[in-house]
Amino acid sequence: MQKVYLDNAATTRMHDEVLAAMQPYLTNVYGNPSSIHSFGREARKAVEEAREKTAAALGGEPREIIFTSGATEANNVAIRGVARALQQKGRHIITTAVEHHAVLDACKALEAEGFKVTVLPVDAYGMVSPRDVADAITDETILVSVMLANNEVGTVMPVAEIGKICRERGVVFHTDAVQAIGVLPVNVDDLQVDLLSLSAHKFHGPKGVGALYVRKGTKLKVFSFGGAQERKLRPGTENVAGIVGLGKAIELAVTDMEAKVSRIKAMRDKLMTGLLSIPHTRLNGHPEKRLPGYVNISFQYVEGESMILSLDLKGIAVSSGSACTSGSLDPSHVLMAMGLDHQTAHGSLRLTLSAYNTEEEIDYVLSVMPEIVARLRAMSPVYPGKD
């Protein structure tokens, strides 16, 4: 059966060159980077080269890069770390309603500990207003965290504008850039961010490794103890092969980005137009300020998981903001924050492309989708145009 992977927001296939770069560190270069003998020094060199590549891709300094086990950890270290380091200065944090749970739940946990957390609303497109950020900042504010691009609808946030505001007001600014690497220009100075999280597997690197950019001078208090690795901000024997993979992946991600992006966009537009030609559909997320590979569409009268399963049986992998895919009861907090009603949220489908997709794959998806939707609608008790 033909297999079509359109869930690149969940994870991506690893680039062959990334695996090739990792291979020595999975076999004969196995030293611990903390060891001073030749085995250790070879591993150390590889880690530091990856750090340089990561810094170069983001426009920062190598010593500003901390490798982690992923963006979840990077987000937690950033949010909790700043909160704890600056709690004497103030105990107010600002974030948005559409952040990843790693950010949102870390903030909520701090709220339970006595911090004040302002969760800013978003508009119907999932966009936060820089104005709202500015208005929310008080003398007590120590941290603002706004994602660079949303991982469900792909809406790209005005992070540079918010960064400017935060800098003027002297507030530390963190952005979760997980979905943006390789598809948007990500430069820590242009964005005026102090902290930035990323995860290698979202841009054709390995799973289980990420990075946190920490601008020089940014104070973080850590809660994880052990060795002196990563300037003590992230102790534990380094995932050498993973870090090398991240370095290679980010280097490849920013190479020829525009060409890749315009190819992805062309496929995306074809997919979007085709799907929207099915009746009772609507696009979720911002029509323009959106990641190039994102199509999030709601199909009225049908539930997301049933569409995922139906597509899966045709070899097509997508995801949904429906509660049924997460095991929780409520549909996606992102779609709800955008004001969608429950039915529309439950009927959402997220199709996310990468450079590995082809136009033939898009054609294939468009050829099977109408039938699938029709079949499920025919079963639906809420579908008005019965049988």
Binding site: V302, E303, L309, C324, P331, H346, M379, P381
Partner: protein, 127 residues
């Protein structure tokens, strides 16, 4: 994730549709949770389920359990049908993922509502 039996019921659901002039209709679930099941009954004078149909908005488990229960109770008496639990439906399907046991496994409840609807209509007619 789902058993083969679930997938079979999901892809080839039995008894989808409506019954015109049904003797009883039951609906459970709500849009918040993303599952709505409606069951239609045709009941004989001997209180045997002669025909049963369903419509469901929901995930694979919701559709499969709806389909499965219609097969389980067709030809049964209302008294027998009333005894069927959501758990039995899940067992009939070779089990369901744990996360689906609560929100999407409501077919027996929908059937009970339909039987209740049938009974209250009957009571009204007789009154």
């Amino acid at each position: 994730m789902y058993s083969e039996k679930v997938m079979d019921h999901f892809m080839n659901p039995r008894n989808v549709g409506e019954i015109e002039n049904a003797d009883g209709i039951g609906e459970v679930g709500n849009m918040k949770c993303g599952d709505i099941m409606r069951i239609y009954l045709k009941v004989s004078d001997q209180e045997v389920i002669e025909d049963i149909k369903f419509r469901t908005f929901g995930c694979g488990a919701a559709i499969a359990t709806s389909s499965a229960i219609t097969e389980m109770v067709k030809g049964k008496t209302l008294a027998e049908a009333w005894e069927i639990s959501n758990k039995q439906v899940a067992e009939e399907l070779g089990g369901l993922p744990e996360s689906k046991m609560h929100c999407s496994n409501l077919a027996a409840d929908a059937l009970k509502r339909a039987i209740e609807d049938y009974r209250s209509r009957k009571a009204q007619q007789e009154a």
